[in-house]
């Protein structure tokens, strides 16, 4: 049993916890199927305390998991057995916001939306907008290269992070990038983003801010078939438009959203498409005419254009609530995050339907149609014997389908715990071996979030509890 006294001495008593009941709050994250109790939880308030903690872990060969708000949907911030959790929520300061340079320097525990709120008075915002943005933290966003609904046009978190100061798993503190978007060295900042906590812990993150779009043109379109909705997306793309967002929901997810938030989507729709243009008013006045003429040709049976901001938010409310809403239809569910080439979306949905029928499990579909990122929601009831295993098998079929179609096992949630066994199906052995070598450069002792991303280690105890508590409370909704 490791002697934690020397770790305990780094913190005042109220910021070091061995209490099992207290730790229950940290034993899972957004992937509620897995639970693991850590040895201890520490609550640093300064970058120096984080550095000292990581160095202690390195010297004592104790694994650690850095954690923000624990909203990871892939089990990325699940604790490790015999390891500690470094809870970063108290490192929550926006250290600097420079509107002239359009950057913000933040600590990892800063909530995503807080950055945009701070930038708003200057007419700026922070673009990456995962649905959990009212509570997820920038540190977590960096670790998982979080996405959102606007990735096609604006990219992911990594495209908005231009500098990181971090403590690596070796204890070395490094500064990557700078306050300029330009660089003359390899992009170490870009590599750190999406490394899922396997390299170390970010201490300060330099974000780039964008001018807020002046105007939005948001359209909700109802279709009698998923195929029609998919074809509409292709038509918009082929016309040369670059919408800020394009989202599709199928009948089951519409039903769920309607029951949860009364979003008022067209009754009888087999699919709805949300298309959002954004930009200067002069450009939008021109593009909206083109969009309208395109959509007219795509066989919609209903169309609603948001007349103002309230209506725009109302259109989005249904989409943003979809995951949590499905959780009300079903005691348990798994959410997937695969990507397929956009032209194969229709085919993918047909195959998912076939998998669903064969398994006897219902699957609701919500997806970022603009970038081919699917979110099948596999519904099951864990009280039924073997239901979880059936759901996992179905999830595996979907992941394999994505790989076979030339896509990805994850568009934005990351590999984490959930999909680690599928990474070798996406990358060959030499490429996986290289990733191990690269990881070992940062973490030779394999103490930074071990057991994630790569297959191999024992999985923690499986149990299913449906919606994350914050979802049940309506504080967050999933992407």
């Amino acid at each position: 049993m490791t002697d934690l006294d020397s770790l305990r001495r780094l913190f005042p008593p109220e910021r070091f916890s061995l209490d099992l009941a207290f730790q229950a709050a940290f034993e899972s994250d957004g992937l509620t199927a897995f639970r693991e109790k850590p040895l201890a939880v520490v609550f640093p308030e300064t970058a120096n305390e984080v550095v000292e903690t990581v160095r202690w872990c390195h010297d004592n060969e104790i694994p650690f998991v850095a954690r923000g708000s624990g909203t990871s949907l892939s089990g990325g911030s699940l604790p490790v057995a015999d390891g500690i959790v470094i809870a970063l929520n108290r490192l929550n300061k926006i250290l600097r916001l420079d509107p002239e340079q359009r950057i913000a320097v933040v600590q990892p525990g800063v909530v995503n939306l807080a950055v945009s709120n701070a930038a708003a008075p200057h007419g700026l915002y922070y673009a990456p907008d995962p649905s959990s943005q009212t509570i997820c933290t920038i540190g977590g966003n960096v670790a998982f290269n979080s996405g959102g609904a606007h990735c096609l046009k604006y990219g992911m978190t990594a495209n908005h992070v231009i500098g990181i100061q971090a403590v690596l798993a070796t204890g070395e503190v490094v500064s990557m990038g700078s306050e300029s978007v330009e660089t003359i060295e390899p992009d170490y900042t870009g590599l750190f983003c999406g490394s899922e906590g396997l390299f170390g812990v970010a201490l300060e993150i330099t974000l780039r801010l964008l001018p807020k779009p002046e105007k939005f043109h948001t359209v909700l379109v109802g279709y009698r078939s998923l195929k029609d909705a998919g074809d509409a997306v292709s038509a918009v793309i082929d016309a040369g438009l670059l919408p800020g967002a394009m989202e599709i929901m199928d009948a089951l997810s519409i039903e769920a959203a309607e029951a949860a938030v009364a979003c008022g989507y067209p009754p009888g729709a087999e699919a709805v498409l949300i298309v959002e243009l954004e930009g200067p008013r002069e450009k939008l006045d021109h593009e909206r005419r083109l969009l309208e003429s395109i959509l007219e040709q795509t066989n919609p049976f209903a169309q609603h254009i948001a007349a103002d901001d309230d209506e725009r938010l109302s259109i989005w409310k249904g989409r943003k609530s979809a995951f949590s809403a499905v959780g009300r239809l079903s005691p348990d569910f798994l959410v997937q995050d695969g990507v397929v080439p956009r032209k194969r979306l229709g085919e993918a949905l047909v195959r998912i339907q076939e998998f669903s029928q064969a398994s006897g499990l219902r699957v609701a579909n919500v997806f970022h149609a603009g970038d081919g990122n699917l979110h099948p929601l596999i519904m099951f009831d864990d009280r039924e014997r073997g239901a979880l295993e059936k759901a996992e098998a179905l999830a595996g079929q979907i992941l394999r389908m994505c790989i076979e179609m030339g896509g990805s096992i994850t568009g934005e949630h990351g590999v984490g715990m959930e999909k680690r066994d599928y990474l070798p199906e996406m990358f060959d052995a030499d490429s996986i071996d290289f990733m191990h070598r690269l990881r070992a450069a940062y973490d030779p002792k394999i103490i930074a979030n071990p057991g994630k991303m790569f297959p191999g280690a024992e999985a923690p105890a499986l149990s299913t509890h449906g919606l994350h508590p914050l979802e049940k409370a309506g504080v967050i909704s999933r992407e």
């Binding site: 509107p99 990594a158 660089t183 170490y188 590599l191 040369g240 990507v339 970038d371 568009g411």
Partner: protein, 360 residues
């Protein structure tokens, strides 16, 4: 590819090059390494306009890629520099994004996947071929600006966008550099979605590039003039294309041409750019040009003045040499200090040092 693998595994240390349009990046190693050109690894592997992705061999000329995309009304939003003389591999390896990066981003924001040979000649695949992918480490980003010193890139996949439309270039004289900085800031924070925000220091000329339907850009241009409260020249198409081509060729200063001219790139903040600009004002034979709202400083100078560069480096950032008879410190204006992790990463790619070693 098999030949290339054999060469990487062979007894000589190597430096991969494309067209060698940026000699300072490889010349330092000519005595100790074999320069291996990837020009023959050329061509489009997969292009799906509706997917917004293109996969190409590293030795493909950039102008060929631009032409193929243009036929489908698409383009590379990172606006690759030296497009007429470079391969795409060389562009990624030297990290040369141009003025158009202001609108949507640089190479790092559009590279989706990369296949490369590690130092042992093993083929490694990283990233993917779809526009959204969070699986595995984002090694494609790391390889941007890696100068061929970590790996030998063989294939890369990019996200592409629809062409934004014809250019409208607005040019305005500024009283001084400080006024230019202030105007750049207003433009960069504006609602206008500008395509490029550049500044030619020697002539004190602010350049705002709009791209889109002429009705749209014309209307926005009116608002630009109103908000900025200054008169802009609307350049003709010919003048506009000539200027942006000259920037792309790093030839904006017609008096500074020839083999004895040194060219470089430096990452800057606007305040850093101001230091470069003020320094250039004190010397005859130096010109600096700011792109991307002054986040990139391009410099050209007579090679006889290169010993004056260290004076200014204390107040700016390091730079990457791109052309001319001066090699600097293995292609950098001042020596790089390499951290432990950078050395360890290098070893992960190239355990036996077949590529350029970290020297410091």
């Amino acid at each position: 590819m098999d030949d290339l693998k054999d060469i990487v595994r062979g007894k000589y240390r190597i430096v991969p090059v494309g067209n060698q349009s940026k000699p300072p990046l490889s010349r330092s190693f000519a005595q100790t390494h074999r320069l291996v050109s990837l020009r023959e690894l050329s061509g489009v592997i997969e292009y799906e306009p509706s997917e917004f992705t293109i996969t190409v061999w590293a030795g493909t000329p950039v102008r060929e890629i631009i032409s193929i995309l243009k036929d489908q009304n698409q383009y590379l939003p990172f606006d690759p520099m030296l497009a007429n003389s470079s391969t795409i591999g060389g562009t990624v390896a030297s990290g040369l994004s141009g003025p158009g990066r202001f609108r949507y981003g640089g190479i790092r924001d559009f590279i989706l996947g990369c296949q490369f040979l590690d130092g042992q000649g093993t083929v490694i695949n990283s990233g993917g071929r779809v526009v959204k992918n969070a699986a595995g480490f984002d090694v494609p980003k790391l390889l941007v600006s890696s100068l061929g010193r970590l790996a030998v890139m063989t294939q890369m996949t990019f996200k592409v966008f629809p062409c934004p439309g014809p250019w409208l270039t607005l040019a305005a004289r500024c009283e001084n550099h400080e006024e230019a900085l202030q105007r750049v800031s207003v433009a960069a924070c504006s609602r206008w979605e500008l395509d490029a925000i550049d500044y030619q220091a020697s002539s004190r000329t602010l350049l705002l590039r709009l791209a889109g339907d002429p009705e749209v850009t014309g209307a926005i241009a009116k608002d630009v003039e109103k908000v900025m409260r200054c008169e802009f020249q609307h350049w003709s198409d010919e003048q506009s294309i000539r200027h942006w081509q000259s920037v792309n060729d790093l030839n904006w200063e017609s008096e500074l041409v020839g083999d004895e001219i040194v060219r470089w790139k430096s990452p800057t903040t606007p305040k850093c750019f101001l230091n470069w600009a003020n320094w250039a004002d004190t010397l005859e034979g130096v010109s600096v040009y700011g792109s991307g709202a002054l986040t990139t400083t391009w410099g050209i100078a007579k090679s006889s003045l290169i010993d004056r560069v260290p004076d200014i480096l204390a107040k700016t950032n390091n730079g990457l040499l791109l052309n001319g008879p001066y090699d600097g410190h293995e292609g950098y204006l001042s020596p790089l200090v390499t951290s432990n992790i950078q050395k360890d990463i290098k070893r992960a790619f190239d355990p036996e040092g077949q590529l350029v070693l970290c020297q410091h």
